[in-house]
Amino acid sequence: MNDSSKNPSGKSDRSADEPRQLEGQIDDLLNQGLDREQADQLDQQLSSDANARRVYLQRMFVEAELHAYHAEPVSSDDHRREAPVADPSATSTEPARRPLSAWAAIAASLLAVASLSSLLTLAATGRFSSHAHNQLAHSDSQPETPAEAVATIGATQNCRWKATSQAAGAGAKLPAGAKLELEAGVAEIAFADGARLLLEGPACLDINDGHDARLVYGQLSAKLPEGPDRLNLAAGRLAIAEGSTAGPAEFGLLADGSGGGEVHVFGGSVGAVLFGPQGQQLRSLSLNKFEAARVTQASTSLARFNADGDRFVRSLSSGNGLYAYEPFDYTPGPLSWQNGGFGWAGAWEDIEFEEPEVYINDCETTNQVAAGSLGIGELATAGNHAIQTAQRNRIRRVLSTSIGSVLSTAGFVENSDGHNLVGRDGKRLYVSFVQRVDRLDDVFYGLELNRGDGNGNRVLCIGNGADGAGYGVTSNYNAYGARNYKRLGEETLKANLMVMRFDFGVDNRDVVTVYRNPESLLDEDLCTKDAVLRGNFAFDRLSLGNFDGSKNHEVDEVRIGSSFRAATGLRDPKAPMIRPLARQWRRFDVGELRVVKAAAWLSNSPFGNQGLDSLGGRY
């Protein structure tokens, strides 16, 4: 290491050499060339010599400044550094430098099915025909006073209800005669006898009373308890009855809205009864586990086939882990007031937008929906995408974080000063999206996560130009200075898939890990961490911002889930592991390290070197 402890004559001159020896040791420390023994010597000297500490501190403060000053400069010109918070008056005299399908959530009680005999009895007495079979199930006469609840919405997952639907938030009490029209998502409906239905949108369910419900269209899964006087359930011309064996039953039900229907049995035994147009019984079948029956609109017979358990959502905690999704599947035009996807508390709302240069119609804005998806690699895409075409634009959407929301039910929501924020201690959450711009380093743009509106509440921003930090990850809320904002590598004009992992810690000690164009959409361990930030990152909304310059800012496929796979859109555990990875890296413009990592993973895969060969023999 450093040999500066000898004077020109080669003899040790302790008194004269000590400062140089100290400086040499400090240099070695700074060059990462200090071994343990030398480190112990330096430690001993520093602990015993105040002058040595003074020299050391002087050197280290200069060294720290060299790191701070030279780390990824914004420009070669010195200029006054921008303050790290939302206060435009905050400046520094420093020179500028860079600154989320198994059963789990359904309660134990099961849906009651009418026995075949009781069903016939009911038909003979007219009760069934007046409720379960006939289309007259839903009476036009509505109670004039609030009726007694016969069922309850136990939980919801990403539900969007039709405006004409019975008010149906989590915990809502449902009176006899309630009509539930679910456009999207899954809702759990609990009956007093313990029956549980999972209604999967789009679907319509008429709840005639506490013992009788009818699936008008769509599908549901049901768990029925054993017991007398159980729930009568019907779909089209199909009615469900008790099967060959008494006891609890689990099954799925479909209705095409035109009289056709199917029943798939997953547990126990149920009876399927086909009725004619006048309500007469035509056929009946007893179905056991893994059996199904179908009736078409004009058929007079029941077709038996194998049950398809994967066709139905059978648990609210299905394991797919996707809690919010925005595919931008809207007609091209204004994004504001669009209210699709799931997991959101409301529609997109313009915070600000510049007038368009050319009006195509009166409702034109510059926060828009544009045709097509921002496809990238093997990422599953749907619908269109968002685009900001002007430079004073921000549009935001609030997540559903209220009690009973899926994020709350899943335990992700904490109350912070009266605000429900996603970020409960000990939870891990993933957010992903696709982003693209058409000009490089063109001032500010970003996908932002906020805790309330306002610049100071921006807990995270991925894009370019925030606080002068260039292309990277910034946080106004944490405000720890531009120097500590993380760069995300070289900005490109290609679509980029960003995946952020939030590890919410105790006492607001959260950690965000960012993956830009992750090498694998399936295995997080194969992906390079492009940035890691520490701070307080709980949030409740998302916004898209585009300011200054002349670029278009595009965003697509926003996902929030509890797992890496949920966030990357590939949630099927049976999906082939090899395909996404191999094709992924070939499509992406990734660095050599990532390719080597992918190749290394392939060489250990069941495909072995064949997998490497499929990569074109380049590696």
């Binding site: 450093n2 602990s47 501190l57 000053y69 780390a71």
Partner: protein, 205 residues
Amino acid sequence: MADYSSAGESHNPNPDPGAESTTGERSESEASREQRADFARIFAAHDRWLYAYLMSLLGSPADAEEVFQEVCVVVWRDYEKFDPATNFMKWASVIAHNQVHRFRRSRARAAHAFSDVTVDLLAQDAADQADLLEDRRRALHGCLKKLRENDLELVRTCYGDPKRTMKASAELLGKPVNTVYKAMNRIRQSLHDCIDRTLATEGVS
């Protein structure tokens, strides 16, 4: 700074409880915002000192960067406890010192550059000499301009990424590691000599 808060937020459909009341009285939350803004100004003026303080105690830029963010979480959580009439560096250094010990406890002892005793002594001295160290840090910028372009390029490469080792920098430059070591030692010394002269001229040292 580049304030990309929407101008439209002044027309926010969601009334800001912090907005000025109709009686003209400043609301409590407005005062709180001002306090936060004042604190931000103070913080912005000293964040590099804070980083340097951490690097001195930890001996590693990468560790300093990690702890720096932790310190910022605490500093911003407790900013209302800071009295602007007092010394920010001393207030922040106490927080930083505690975070350094917290960080060290989370790491294997062998990974520590210094003993707890040395760290505590360095922490005390850094706080006591804060102004002088700050003067040296500031003087560095003028001295950097006096470096030759080749040396400046070497400095940029070696300090461009806190996670990049000197060895990796040498590989990046295509030069032997020892050559880079020696060059950096020489450059550091010349910078310190320049800083000494600058401060002597200013009558600071």
